[in-house]
Amino acid sequence: MKISFLLHNAYGIGGTITTTFNLAQALAGRHEVEIVSVLRHREHPSHTLDPRVSLRPLVDLRQEKEHPLHLRPARVFPVAEYRYHQYSELTDQRIAEALATTDAEVVIGTRPGLNVHVARQAPDHVLRIGQEHLTLDNHPPRLRTTLRRAYRRLDVVTTVTEADAAAYRRKMRLPGVRVEALPNSVPDPVLPAADGTAKVIVAAGRLVPVKRYDLLIEAFAPVAAAHPDWQLRIYGKGEEHTRLRRLIERLGLSNHALLMGAAAPMEAEWVKGSIGATAANFEPFGMTIVEAMRCGLPVVSTDCPYGPAEIIEDGADGRLVPVGDRDALTAALLDLVGDDELRRRMGRTALDNARRFAPAPVVEQAERLIEAAATARRTARPPAPPEPARLRRALAGHGFAARDAAYAAASAARRTIRGGQR
């Protein structure tokens, strides 16, 4: 089978790129796999791509940044999408061509705007899959309204968590569309797992407010006081760096809490620790939790939407604590720091439990999903109806649809009024 991924920019750095490369690599064992990258800005991808996976860019920004069509706003790529400003008539055109002429049996979009392209422009004989790497509830209402309309023409929508899949089923009303969670996979580690003896707690991610590294550092202060031979190492860079540095100084943690800078790959850093930690308010999936567990670390995490509770089994391979609860985070860290046997046992369990996120089981799930969608097609699911008229859609709309549409219209009106006042 030939499978084609449609990716925003395969040459950049990020979670969606990593997980798409991982899945493409795992599928390449049994299928012909290509990645179509809408944009390209450098010669080689930053992440390593399996040589069995072919890579085809559509718009090369190094030459086509000033292309007349690239200076005109996109019309197919939805205006409410986060990356709308990076799309254009040129991307509209190139993506449409690529989809119209594809020789793949399955086309997989990897972000909302590209899923809209796949839904509207992939030929009828092609299986159309849209992947959601973020979450429905965090999309602006206007984007949800666009997706609600377009996604009816997809065969499959995948989310990265069951919780988000449930949100799609409840709020999107997509008749005939299979909605399923397909978690991100993490490649099998190369290094031996951590053995639980290192007196280091490891955290990793961009230093941005939503990750709540401030809370983690505050929660770590009593741990360092009770166990001065332990360190907290935070890997990553970002806008919060200076603020976190000041917090560390104010709390007198300069000897114990370290901002390590970015590290890629993280694997060699995880195995230097024996506990993973995250205090985030929001994690669409929780890739670093899986990475840490696959290296043999139990992870202490906030029970934030959506991923952590679907990855960590509280008390068995890690701990889940309420969002924003510093004392609970401290207590959970102290439990693991203070009990060598508990920590080692949970680390071993984490190693076992995280195997379900290895490429092999995830790719098997993806194949089953594709197979089921193909079978549904063969047993003649009626083709999706053409897009209904705007009025009929609004009237026939389900509660969530009506609310999103109303909200979107209201905010559009507000923008118009504000624009008029300027």
Binding site: H44, A198, S254, A268
Partner: protein
């Protein structure tokens, strides 16, 4: 950069490495093509000063590791001179060397290196990645070493806890702060010895580090004088015994405000301890 390093990073071979607690480092890499690399070996080159020729080289044999990869072992002895070493793959008797990019660096054995007492000379090796993305090795070689364990800064003073390696603490030992570029200007404080003759602590009053007149910014380098005599050797204080090759931006301590000055202990680019005194702006 020498012309031999012109290989594009995206295509240069990668070498993984594993550090042992005893200083041993094992390098591993996928075998390069036998045509271009008839007898591949690993080269370590002590990076010369700018404009100087390279002089200090180590060549390691690459052997079949049994799993299809090649491996080379850098034994703990002989100790390597202090500096930064670049790593290359040698194709054979002929042919151009290729600078290596990093694979996974398993340095977990180094993380708690400060808990193991070192004999003299104290030799340290930490594999790291250069700013431009190549594999390299940082080495230190010192007769003795004062490993900083912790630094506590208050408004009035800075207290340093440390441990001696390579030599026991002599009863007449003292802590010496030497003004960088200061033509022998020094401050001396008495160390407090810990239980086993290795641990020590000392406290420096910030007021003693300020310029007497309206001088500008200054840096004090920190040493322990091993014995009572003025000719007793100076042992540099620093923090070398873990997995962090470049500490300056990671182990950061707060500044104390003393009048119009900010006094702050910090680690130099060589991971040695110093105290800077900056006029506040």
């Amino acid at each position: 950069m020498t012309p031999t390093t012109a290989t594009a990073p995206a295509t240069a071979p990668r070498a993984a490495c594993t550090a042992g607690t005893d200083g041993r480092i094992t390098f591993r890499l996928a075998p390069p093509g036998p045509a271009a690399f008839p007898s591949p070996r690993l080269l370590l080159r002590l990076r010369p000063r700018k404009g100087q020729p390279e002089k200090t080289l180590r060549v390691l044999d690459l052997a079949d590791a049994g799993d299809g990869e090649l491996s080379a072992v850098l034994d703990p002895l002989p100790a390597l001179p202090e500096g930064r070493w670049d790593l290359y793959l040698l194709p054979g008797p002929e042919g151009e060397r290729i600078r290596l990019r990093p694979g996974l660096r398993d340095l977990r054995a180094l993380v708690d290196g400060h808990v193991r007492d070192r004999p003299s000379p104290v030799a340290v090796r930490i594999p790291y990645v250069t700013r431009d993305g190549y594999l390299a090795l940082r080495t230190w070689l010192r007769d003795a070493h004062v490993e900083v364990a912790g630094i506590d800064v208050t408004d009035r003073s800075t207290t340093v806890r440390a441990r001696l390696h390579g030599v026991p603490l002599d009863a007449g030992a003292s802590v010496l702060l030497r003004l960088r570029g200061g033509k022998g200007v020094e401050r001396t404080v008495a160390p407090r010895a810990g239980g086993d003759g290795r641990d020590l602590a000392f406290t420096v009053d910030h007021a003693d580090l300020l310029p007497e007149s309206g001088d500008g910014d200054r840096v004090w380098d920190v040493f322990v004088r091993a014995g009572a005599g003025a000719d007793a050797p100076l042992i540099r204080a620093g923090r070398l015994l873990d997995d962090v090759a470049d500490r300056k931006e990671i182990f950061v301590h707060p500044a104390a405000v003393v009048g119009e000055f900010a006094v702050r202990p910090y680690y130099t680019v060589d991971n040695d301890l110093a105290v800077e005194v900056l006029r506040r702006t």
